[in-house]
Symmetry: C2
Subunit: 567 residues, 2 copies
């Protein structure tokens, strides 16, 4: 069918092809299933991501990429194309961008770093692109970049010394023009100079109608979005998302106006100081949740309670530390001395933070943070109810290791009868399901027990891949190229689900549903947008996947193609 | 039976009890099984570890512990009792010990650190005891400590500032006297001052006869030892070990005269420089292996090829770095500038080294190191054969993730026909089995495929526990106390095998033997000495456990008790 259509029409652009398919449906020469099956998924990238050398684009001051010195290679972190000036630190980039804005100059910047950390989130969001030597598709920088539509390229060959970045024959100093071209499929390129970029604009695009067509074919399966800002929620909704499958609350604390109250909480010496800091954060979180609920009114919003290790919130660079120390001495937020603060930061450091005190392990020791988050959810729900708006919150506990842990956190009570972590009692009160992230092999194997305390499972396949394969996504970029050279892995396990990870997921679904036949299961890792992963989910009886906003359309079309095929 | 014996005799010491049991066997009133079953395993600690306030001991200059200020708590890292003077760094301790030796003073030192690293191995060996704030039973310091018979105590309450350690009401400056009492079972204590310590001396002890008696009851199961020095091999042999189940070759490189050639290898820029460094290391390794083979003549020696991440070999402290930089500029071992060396060290750092480039991942990128180790094994075997001595080497590949990886490393050939990592061809030549460490959930699940390329499996339960539970043994001490308070884990998973880890092991044994019915399986993690783990191994069809030298006698008696029960 597809071959015939192609021969008949030979459409030029992806938008044209989609229009053609919609027209065929309108004319009745093709049914919805036929049209959806005929679309080549990879062509959606042309519409959804910025591109260089877009057909029909005209060149002004900028060059067509062909004329620029070029380096080819690296690993795609977040697809698209981006041009701008090179900056070697988050601070330098943010400063330069603010200055360019004041002066009315081109504000596009590219962040170039050996590796990106949580503290770089703001700059990754502000940047047009990120180029790092370390990392990979599932590394922090890449995940954040995809979230914000920032282009991300990981090039292990990149070396940065004395404010000069060298990549093959190319060399960049601070402020130099650079262009990153990271296709969704194929090999990325880096150009010396600014190439022309076409930005995606899907308002009025035929894609939106095509998504509606595809969604009509999907039964008993959902595409949700990973989103924690109203902007992302809105974007995802317009791209067809059925709800939020993963709202990562720690990202809400990384905002500059939030990070210091959160640090205050971590450093607080007394219950009083802790409560003061928690109170500030609760008000902010309540507002966050309310705004997201309102956008997603009537749709599921799965809120993952704090997952990140506490040290991720503390200053990392010397500059960040110095400015935080200034803040402390000016605000007198803590009674601790500078040395005591440094010592506290030091004790939070871990050898293997990925396997350290994070997820619900934080709540076992410090249940106050979860209790604050749950109160914020309750208040936001009340505000929605006051406005007669429907809201469907779900509370998700991250990094569950075993049933005892989840039982304590979700249903535990203190001696005086109060809820252990603020959750017990709330699930009935709000009619809000409580679920567990299944992201450790022990949790997958113990799913039968865990399902006694979880109304839903969400498979966090980034972490489950890390622990199952013993592979840190932030460190793997150094050796995965050799693995791919010798064909030792079937694709990058952080973009394509590994067979052993799939075995654990399937086993967890089975064991979980033996205990609780109506257990809802979702998958919210980075692999969720991969058509093969969607096929696996549908075959395994998983109810939804959740992925980045820009990945939602391809995931919807993929699910529709798979379900249409099965009919 | 046991109750009756106790009532009849009421022996005072463990040695007396063992003598009594041996006498009963001699007199024929008790058979071997009865005698072995009657021994309380925990009493072996009394004989095998130093103790304070040993019954019958006399006091000279030192005090009986009762008179000393005391703190109680912490986690046992390596049992025993140790007294000495406090030092806050490996260098300070080694210097002080050398000085005390010159002066004919008491050379006993206690290393007190926030946490111990690989670079502290030499000091841990030289110390009588190690007291750290971070770590746990399975942390590096504890594992190394048990290996060398050094007492290790982890006290999260310990704070070290300005060369003063504070633990509860006790405070220690550099050089202050301290005593650690870490019982095999029960709560540890720390004393301010030097308490009397009785050292274990088992020469001529009835324990040795009892071990022989117990070994007579063990069929189709072995207790091997984790050892990489001739001293440990000899000690373990005298304590009844049937061979070496785990010879960790990286420990051989941490020796001060080895670490610089190894660093030379890591920093080498040219093939020539690399070969020069490898040549130095090969000669040293050959000698290591030969000496161990000779002690273990006729017994299995399982050699694990390099496992540790490369950055563990680089300087960590500023002092270590400075002295290394001096060494480089004097020796001219590398053509790199100081800044280049620093940059190289920086690129070796990882966010989660436990999940990074280690184990056979190093060999996929740099097969030369394994090739050098295998050549050293071959040469050592030849030396043994020249002396008409029997030798049973086994080559073990660590951190195997999947079959493709092991196939490349164990059987892979280069285009020109040479072995990829020096192993291919050797297994037939030496009649030497090649095996895989199963220490990742993916490897356990993929055991059926891996067994196509492995003649034996060795379950590395330290790492398998870390990845299955997503729990770093070096970071867990901070939150495991809360887990134990709320009863969220059945014991410390690094000393007692977790149920999910056991499920993965049992599944791997089954899948492995479906592919290769005669697959030999061993368990070489820290949990190997635990009687419950030995019972699990016997029930699961595992052929041997391998544990620290001092744990061998208890493991032998435990295995004999379990097998005697089954009859």
């Amino acid at each position: 069918m597809r071959e015939t259509l192609r021969l008949k029409s030979a459409p030029q652009t992806a938008e044209d092809e989609i229009k053609f398919l919609l027209d065929e449906v309108k004319r009745g020469t093709l049914d919805a299933a036929g049209a959806v099956k005929a679309l080549d998924l990879s062509r959606l990238n042309e519409i959804l991501h910025p591109r260089i050398n877009a057909p029909g684009a005209t060149c002004n001051e900028v060059s067509r990429a062909e004329g620029l010195p070029k380096w080819t290679g690296g690993i795609s972190g977040a697809p698209g194309a981006a041009a701008g000036r090179v900056y070697f630190s988050a601070d330098a980039l943010l400063e330069a961008k603010a200055l360019a804005r004041q002066r009315g100059e081109d504000t596009r910047c590219i962040l170039v770093l050996p590796a990106a950390f949580a503290g770089d989130v703001k700059a990754i969001k502000a940047a047009a692109g990120v180029l790092t030597a370390q990392g990979g598709y599932a590394a922090h920088a890449s995940v954040v970049a995809r979230q914000y539509g920032t282009v991300s390229l990981v090039a292990p060959e990149l070396s940065i010394t004395d404010k000069t970045a060298v990549l093959g024959g190319l060399s960049f100093s601070e402020g130099d023009p650079i262009t990153l071209d990271v296709p969704g499929f194929g090999i990325p390129s880096v150009y010396q100079g600014i190439a022309e970029i076409s930005e995606p604009d899907i308002t009025g695009s035929a894609l939106l109608d095509f998504i509606t067509l595809a969604k009509g074919l999907i039964k008993n399966f959902q595409i949700r979005v990973n989103a924690e800002t109203p902007e992302d929620a809105e974007k995802a909704l317009s791209l067809g998302a059925e709800g939020i499958g993963l709202c990562r609350t720690e990202h809400m604390f990384f905002k500059p106006e939030r990070i210091n109250p959160f640090r205050e909480l971590i450093l607080s010496e007394s219950g009083e100081a802790r409560n003061k800091a928690l109170e500030k954060l609760r008000e902010m979180q309540c507002d966050d949740f309310y705004r997201i609920f309102k956008i997603m009114a009537g749709k599921h919003v799965t809120i993952r309670l704090l997952d990140a290790p506490l040290h991720e919130f503390m200053p990392r660079s010397d500059a960040d530390l110095a400015s935080y120390m200034d803040h402390i001495s000016a605000s007198k937020e803590t009674a601790l001395s500078g040395d005591e603060v440094l010592a506290r930061i030091e004790t939070l450091r871990e050898y293997n933070p990925m396997l350290g005190r994070r997820g619900c392990r934080i709540a076992v020791s410090y249940p106050e943070i979860y209790a604050m988050q749950v109160r914020a959810i309750v208040e936001a729900v009340h505000k929605m109810h006051d406005e007669k708006l429907d809201v469907q919150p779900e509370i998700m506990v991250p990094l569950v290791m075993n049933a005892a842990e989840l039982k304590l956190i979700a249903y535990g009570k203190r001696a005086e009868g109060a809820s252990y972590a603020g959750i017990a009692g709330v699930e009935e009160f709000l009619n809000c399901p409580i679920g567990a992230m299944i992201e450790l092999p022990a949790a997958a194997l113990g799913a039968g027990d865990i399902a006694r305390y979880a109304q839903f499972f969400s498979f966090g396949t980034n972490d489950l891949t890390q622990t199952t394969l013993g592979l840190s996504r932030d460190d793997a970029a150094g050796f995965l190229p050799a693995y791919s050279h010798y064909d030792l892995l079937e694709g990058n396990p952080f973009s394509v689900l590994d067979e052993r990870v799939k075995e654990l997921i399937a086993l967890a679904v089975d064991r979980g549903r033996l205990t609780r036949p109506d257990l809802v299961c979702g998958l919210c890792g980075e692999q969720g947008a991969d058509p093969a992963a969607i096929r696996f989910c549908i075959d395994t009886g998983i109810n939804y996947v959740s992925c980045s906003p820009y990945a939602v359309p391809a995931a919807i079309v993929a699910a529709a193609q798979i379900l249409a095929e099965k009919k």
